[in-house]
């Protein structure tokens, strides 16, 4: 088991390296760079820029180097925790990102929790009472959740929250705490703002999860081992929790790795609408203005999240399912 863990952690390094090459290449792909975008913008406004200054900037930013050299610099910096320089903001990426990473993790974490807490009881009810009125109603709501564009849902909820409860529009905390250092009040303020983005971002995920868990559970409920357990005289609730639910969970644990980045990137639009200080909007801006190191850092962050998430879900699967833990090479 230990050797397996070490192997898995070691294999994450080449994986992340390959991902970083791909990210860098993709960021490089559009013609031009940050400076040429800036010059074009200035010219469009009828302003001009001094060629000497342009040359100076190009040199200081290292934009005159070959892509391979720049990649080398970037990756060497990443290894030291230096994420590079954001052109757009004129400061180190690390300072630009600041609290945003943490807030992103908070919002995403809360969303995952929300999805699980809401979808599980509903899915279990639907699966154990299939084709009943309750099932149909919940299914309908689920489909609505899947089909409604989340930004629209966000706008509607914002309006309702403001009109009905007098809540402030947008943001993740009261304006007073915006740039304030962390304090108890700030945490409370975040918590009181958190529910709205979490519901909005989580709604489609919840609906999807309900559908999949219901289908999985209904498959498991028809399996022979469930009948065997029933023949033992287990009560229906105990039976459900101990056997089919346990097995129906596997796909979801396997999903953890994929769900995190999906929520983060899927939340970008909602974050813009709700003006949340999370990663999504900033990533979008950075990609548009070819602020390559900022964008690259964000994408790398998501890659790390995915790789680590997959790793964690693999370990959780191995812990939960003896077939994976012990089954290697065993033939029937």
């Amino acid at each position: 088991m230990i050797s397996y863990l070490v192997r898995r952690i070691l294999i994450m390094i080449p994986t992340l390296l390959v991902i970083s090459v791909i990210i860098f290449t993709i960021i490089q792909l559009p013609p031009g760079d940050y400076l040429s975008t800036m010059v074009a913008e200035l010219q469009a406004r009828g302003e001009s820029i001094d060629q000497g200054r342009l040359h100076f900037l190009r040199e200081t930013y290292g934009l005159d180097q070959s892509p391979v050299e720049r990649y080398g610099h970037w990756i060497a910096g990443l290894a030291h925790g230096d994420f590079g320089w954001s052109f757009e903001y004129g400061m180190p990426v690390r300072d630009v990102v600041g609290d945003r990473l943490l807030l992103t993790v908070i919002v995403s974490g809360a969303t995952v929790l929300f999805i699980w807490l809401v979808s599980f009881p509903i899915a279990i009810y639907s699966a154990t009472h299939p084709y009943s009125w309750g099932d149909y109603t919940l299914t309908l709501i689920g489909f609505l959740g899947l089909a409604t564009p989340s930004f629209l849902f966000a706008l509607v909820l914002l309006y309702l929250a403001n009109v009905l409860f007098g809540l402030p529009i947008g943001g993740l905390m009261a304006p007073a705490y915006q740039d304030a250092p962390w304090s108890w009040g700030k945490v409370l303020s975040i918590l009181s703002h958190l529910w709205l983005p979490v519901i909005v971002i989580g709604s489609s995920g919840t609906a999807g999860m309900i559908r999949r868990l219901r289908a999985n559970l209904m498959d498991e409920l028809n399996k022979q081992y469930v009948v065997t357990a029933r023949a033992k005289g287990l009560s229906p609730t105990r039976l459900l929790i101990k056997y089919p639910l346990r097995l129906a969970l596997n796909p979801f644990i396997a999903d953890i790795g994929a769900i995190l980045p999906q929520i983060i990137s899927g939340a970008a639009v909602v974050s813009i609408v709700l003006s949340l200080p999370t990663e999504g909007p900033m990533l979008l801006d950075a990609l548009r203005s070819q602020d390559m190191y900022l964008a690259g850092s964000f994408l790398m962050f998501m890659a790390v999240l995915t790789v680590v998430g997959v790793f964690l879900s693999d370990i959780a699967l191995a812990l939960l399912d003896p077939r994976i833990r012990l089954g290697g090479g065993v033939r029937r």
Partner: protein, 632 residues
Amino acid sequence: MSDLLQVTDLEVEFRQSGEGIVSAVRGVSFRIRPGETVALVGESGSGKSVVAQSIMGILPRNGRIAGGEIRLNDPVTGTIVISKLDRDDRRMRALRGNRMAMVFQEPMTSLSPVHRIGDQIGEAYRLRHRASRTEVQERTEETLRLVGFPNPRQALRSYPFELSGGLRQRAVIAMGLICRPSLLIADEPTTALDVTIQAQILKLLFDLQQQFGMAILMITHDLGVVANLAREVLVMYQGRIVESGPRDDLFANPCHPYLKALLHAVPRFREDNRQRLVPIREIASEGGQLLSRAITPWPADGDRAGPLLSVAGVSKSYHGQRGGWFAGPASAGMPAVDDISFTIRRGECLGLVGESGCGKTTLAKILMRAITPDQGRVLFNNRGHQIDVLGLDGHALMQWRQRQQIIFQDPFGSLDPRMTVFDIIVEPLVIHRVGSAEERQALVEDLMALVGLERQHVHRHPHSFSGGQRQRIGIARALALRPDLVLCDEPVSALDVSIQAQILNLLKDLQSRLGLTYLFISHNLAVVDYLADRVMVMCQGRIVEIAPRKSLFCNPVHPYTQTLLLAVPNPDPRFPLDFTQLGPCRTSDPGAWPAPFTIPPAADPASRPRLIDLGNDHWVRATKELTSCARA
């Protein structure tokens, strides 16, 4: 003595979407006395499993007891009318797994894959008794020892996938026995198992019944099992009990046409005259003129070049799974087939018998060139020209494939559900570019008639056919290219007895009409006995004995063959299984065979036992000493 279980006028209905209400059990009445074994016999769909489910209160959600009464007179709980209770009623749950228990057919799926054996078995006991963890564990261990687990303490902590099929079925039986029920319902408990393991399980059930005096309701379609275990027999047909009575009476004087037919449809083992089986519903096979016309005749001296197929020294090892880039080196190879040599003569049917996992299917795949063996030689005689099958490639390989076709075991998995029957049967012709569109059309119709299917069903999809009909589609597909050799890989093992008889008869007729040669693979000795001219016995990847049918079945030499023959239950109560002769479960371990036959696991290849000629075409795997013994 009062009856333990009384079932009176039981009626069970199923609500099915689209079909309305289907009645599955129509007025069934019977009783079981304490400590008695009753067999419930019938083909699939006759409602026998539904009866069991009704008794246990585990009918599927869309089923309900529409009438009648099930009454359990248990000495511990008193009289309870089961049919009046809800399936999840507390009183019902107190009975299930406690006073009456059930053993299911599929040992592979009836245990949860992610819970430990000990946990799953002990659960029923823990539910009823306020027992401490160690008490439950002791009780579970004791029960596991009872059902013959070699190492019960270790088994407590193992998972189902770590056990063999036979051990899993024992675990399922242990699960039923943990509370010492007064009634055990066994739903086809041995159908999925090999004969030797089946015999062990039957012996186990028999012994346990003696020990605890519990009644057994045995549900099966295997008359061999019935003849060996049951005292009373109930025969079900289309939801009704059509005949019932003491076993000996029923086997001696069957009255109802269904039971008569069932008894005639079973291939009898070691019967000297090979009477033609009488299926319950005979199928008409006609046509075939087009096909026989298309067969290229053999030249007069075609057989001089050698037998149709000769296999020499074929071996194949599988390597353990490797676990990715950083995993250690691959583990040493497990031989799947080892030193296989035999010949198939033109026009004969060679039977290949062996238990699951012995390498039968691997061998078939090697012969079909789906797997490449590590070493060995396969020669095919194509009308006087010897072909080196393993050396073929490209066009020559395609050409040769027309000469040899295969019929698969699973009639459901081997037909593409999206193709029509026409597409399925015509596909080999399309792949090999045989004939024009009209010729293909005519040939497919000819083939349909040949295997006894309606010509007008040619545009249906496989799902609208029964298992037996699908297997006939598979046979038609295999014959479309007019092969000389057909490999039949367990073609009837997934079918009901009566359907099995149809297919066996069909294969027999086709062989004589089209001059086919078969390699017939099966784990069922009686089936091989019915079809084969010579029989080959395989164990752990090696051929241990080859002989003409009669000498193999009457005079087996190898200890493995002998055990295999002893373990087959005869569908005749006059010849019961001799449980005392069945040794412990080590019969398929080559290292445990007696002296001239022993194959030690790490023997050097030179001193290993080889196939030795005993004369009269009888070969057995042993060391040289055997022949000297025989001579002396």
